[in-house]
């Protein structure tokens, strides 16, 4: 039966249009395409906002609550990072790939994988490790979207920071996440993590 349906569908596709003019099809197709593409991107951007992220109580009660106390939420100049600034790649293809991965989180929220604080704490190490691996692999790209190495003034940093940044970071031997773990959320049990 499926074969028959597919064959019919293919025949319809191959047949020239009988009722509609070429102009209508081309212009109509173009407009429909614009609407589809615009709609798709709007919807995508809608899922890329903090309000969307914290509409799930897992995020609102755990990750977001912890972020509030950090310098990435409240600071002297009022520039702040929202969830997607750090957790979603800005590059379009990477973003789409990440969004597809995130569909697993929908599954999680439907079936309550992390619906209590205790479950979240139990999962924290593996959740954190995912992010560390991701940021290590892309050389802390999401950090560098705001923190540009080229424009860091070492003379304004304190001695300890200047020493680390001018050697390990400058040589590319280390990347941001190697040292700056747990800057926006609480840390998990760090036993066995390099540098702890």
């Amino acid at each position: 039966m499926w074969k028959k349906i597919l064959i019919n569908f293919w025949r319809t596709l191959r047949r020239p249009s009988v009722h509609y003019s070429l102009g209508f099809l081309v212009i109509g197709g173009f407009i429909a395409g614009v609407i589809f593409w615009g709609g798709f991107n709007t919807a995508l951007e809608l899922t890329n906002t903090e309000t969307f992220c914290i509409s799930c109580h897992e995020m609102r009660d755990n990750s977001y609550e912890e972020l509030k106390a950090t310098v990435h939420f409240s600071n002297r100049s009022g520039v702040r990072a929202t969830c997607p600034d750090c957790h979603v790649p800005h590059n379009w293809t990477d973003k789409l790939a990440r969004k597809m991965q995130a569909s697993r989180e929908l599954w999680g929220t439907i079936f309550g994988t992390i619906n209590t604080r205790e479950k979240f704490q139990a999962q924290r190490r593996s959740l954190a490790e995912h992010e560390w691996v991701r940021l290590k692999a892309n050389d802390s790209l999401e950090c560098r979207n705001c923190h540009h190495f080229d424009y860091m003034d070492f003379t304004l940093q304190n001695t300890r920071a200047e020493e680390q940044h001018s050697t390990s970071l400058a040589s590319g031997e280390k990347t941001c996440i190697d040292c700056h773990k747990g800057i926006a959320h609480e840390l998990p049990d760090m036993r066995g993590v390099e540098g702890w």
Binding site: A69, T70, V71, R124, N158, T159, R160, G182, I183, E186, L187, P188, D189, M190, G195, W196
Partner: protein, 157 residues
């Protein structure tokens, strides 16, 4: 007779409570005698000293002061951020001073392999310093100063 005793006791209690409240009013606290219902204009929050320069201790047993910021340093069941630099195994990389060996002792004086649980919460004793004049005067002199003064006193009677 019984009544008289009762009256005396209650009178003395009343008097005591009056003197206590009177005293409470006189003590100038950090609130500068602002009524509890009023909001005093708060002072600016001072900056934390972040020089990374070791400060001398005022007496030998003083817990060393922290010469850097510790905002959001996590010290809990999961991790101890301080120990990520100051633990024995991390000091070579971090070049930070190691936690004192006394911190490896349990209360019976046995040395453990790691920092003893009772010494785990660093900021129970170790504190950073704010860049501010002391709110309360202090005439503390350390032993060396006292001894020097005494020697000088003996030389010039």
């Amino acid at each position: 007779m019984k009544n008289l005793i009762l009256v005396i006791i209650s009178l003395s209690l009343l008097f005591l409570s009056f003197t206590l409240t009177a005293q409470a009013d006189e003590i100038a606290t950090l609130r500068d005698a602002t009524a509890i219902s009023e909001q005093e204009k708060p002072n600016a929050i001072p900056k934390i000293v972040n020089t990374d320069i070791l400060q001398a201790r005022n007496y030998p047993m003083q817990p060393p002061l922290i010469p850097h910021k510790i905002r959001n340093y996590q010290i809990d069941l999961e991790v101890n951020k301080c120990l990520s630099c100051h633990s024995r195994s991390r000091t070579q990389d971090s070049q930070a001073p190691m936690v004192s060996v006394t911190h490896f002792m349990d209360r019976d004086g046995n040395f453990l392999a790691e920092v003893s649980p009772r010494r785990y919460f660093c900021n129970q004793c170790h504190v950073p310093q704010a860049d501010i004049m002391p709110l309360v005067g202090n005439t503390f002199k350390d032993m060396h100063t006292l001894m020097k003064e005494r020697v000088n006193d003996m030389r010039m009677p």
